[in-house]
Amino acid sequence: MDDTLHTFRSNALQWLEGDERMFDKLSALFLKNVPQQMAVLSAAVAANDLQGAELQAHALKGAAGMIGALEMRNHAAALETAAMAGETELLQQHFKALADYVAQVTEALSRT
């Protein structure tokens, strides 16, 4: 297990209170749902749909928090805040950073 995955796992196991089986189930759900969520978010950002971007970023923030991917959660939160504040010029920027993290997380979780 690489360091990134180890970090996620140990973060998540704090709130899951050591339930590894639950972490595995959450990872599987995360991997299943994230591509679709990112696609929707990407479309919302491209269309400057602030409300759509906000809701999708919020969902990704929650998912990242649950599997212990704190950096990804912080970027999703920044994107959500930018959308709420109507800062359209920041959306693209945050989305790009978030997409990079999502790729990393997905890769790490896929290797389990």
């Binding site: 709130w15 209170e17 639950m22 959450l26 759900l29 969902a59 923030k61 929650g62 998912a63 939160a77």
Partner: protein
């Protein structure tokens, strides 16, 4: 305990549902505010875990709707990272607590238990307050009724007193007029005077005046007596007495009157009746009233009185072959003024106080009175009086 988990996020629903079930709760999930509202409307939950930020109806709106359905339902908000402001707003609106996502399972459980305990106490306190309020309302209504009853009793008593005095005077003066008039007529006829038929007519009027006034005095006496019995202002004696003496005395008095009406009358009293404790004056009144009713309501046939001891009771039965009473009226005849209702259809033969008075006296002796009757087949009145009894008369 039944918990409803409301979150649009499939991951959190899955974790909370499974974890809560592991901890011994029953968990149900809803993926939106409207879904949660319809579940709460149709089911009973002990607490709700409610996501703050959901597409469509958010947590705050959902909270308001849930509170409309069940004001005591504890709701714990599950807020996202960095969403403290909304969580605080929810608390101000009546949410029990908020936990931040991802929520520590043991903290969720602890919060749920506390919330449920608080809601249970709140419901109990509300119920107690409601009971207390109802008790207060009942108590004041009861006090008011007691007061009204007391007022009515003293009113009847004072009115009866006021009525008795002039009635006694009227009867007295009417008697004097009758005597004087008779003398005048006698003197006038001795002197060879005429007008005998007119004198007879006037005499009839005076007789009528006296008998009607006596009847009215009797009614006033009954009303007064009933008022006194009801209010408990008279104390009944508790002396050993022989019931057969009372019965036989009344029987002698009424034998002639039954015979005058062409009725066959028998009275059979067992020799070995035990003594009873009571008030001879009032028990005589019971027997008198029963005999009096039998006389009033029996046009032909028989009236039979039978008195015997049965176990620790003395049973008096009075059977007649009178017109009888419909079963639907059996209970009512022991109510005050029960004959009043017949005024328009059937000429009443009293104002219906004899049986209520009898019932009250018998009850004050620890006994009971009942009737068995069918229209056209006569009536049987049964009085049961205890030989030995506790309590006061």
């Amino acid at each position: 305990m039944n918990i409803l988990v409301v979150d649009d996020d499939e991951m959190i629903r899955m974790v909370l549902e499974e974890k809560l079930q592991e901890m011994g709760f029953t968990a149900t999930t809803a993926d939106s505010g409207p879904a949660a509202i319809s579940l709460v409307a149709d089911n009973s939950y002990d607490a709700v875990l409610l996501d703050l930020k959901m597409p469509g109806m958010d947590g705050i709106e959902t909270l308001q709707e849930l509170q409309k359905i069940d004001h005591c339902l504890p709701v714990i908000m599950v807020s996202s990272f960095g969403d403290i402001a909304s969580a605080v707003q929810a608390i101000k609106m009546g949410a029990y607590e908020f936990v931040e996502k991802p929520p520590q399972i043991s903290r969720i459980v602890l919060t749920l238990r506390r919330a449920i305990e608080k809601a249970t106490l709140e419901r109990e306190v509300k119920q107690l307050a409601k009971n207390l309020e109802e008790t207060d309302v009942l108590r004041s209504a009861y006090e008011k009724l007691k007061e009204l009853d007391q007022m009515k009793t003293s009113f009847i008593a004072s009115v009866s007193h006021e009525l008795r005095t002039p009635l006694t005077s009227i009867i007295g003066y009417a008697e004097i007029v009758r005597i004087k008039f008779e003398r005048m007529v006698a003197d006038s006829s001795a002197a060879g005077g005429s007008g005998v038929s007119e004198a007879t007519q006037i005499n009839g009027h005076i007789e009528r005046l006296i008998s009607e006034t006596k009847r009215l005095a009797g009614l006033v006496e009954s009303v007064l007596e009933l008022a006194q019995l009801e209010s408990g202002t008279i104390e009944l004696k508790q002396e050993p007495l022989q019931l057969q003496k009372i019965i036989q005395s009344s029987a002698r008095e009424f034998a002639m009157r039954f015979a005058d009406k062409g009725l066959s009358f028998t009275c059979q009293v067992d020799d070995d009746l035990p003594l009873i404790q009571g008030d001879d004056y009032y028990l005589a009144k019971v027997v008198h009233n029963l005999f009096s009713n039998a006389l009033k309501f029996t046009e032909r046939g028989t009236v039979a009185c039978r008195v015997r001891a049965t176990g620790k009771m003395i049973m008096i039965t009075l059977s007649d072959s009178g017109k009888g009473i419909a079963p639907g009226l059996h209970k009512g005849i022991f109510d005050k003024f029960s004959q009043i209702g017949d005024v328009m259809t059937d000429k009443p033969k009293g104002i219906g106080l004899g049986l209520p008075i009898a019932k009250m006296i018998v009850a004050r002796h620890g006994g009971s009175i009942a009737v068995d009757s069918q229209p056209g087949r006569g009536s049987i009145f049964t009085v049961m009086l205890p030989v030995e009894r506790g309590g006061k008369g």
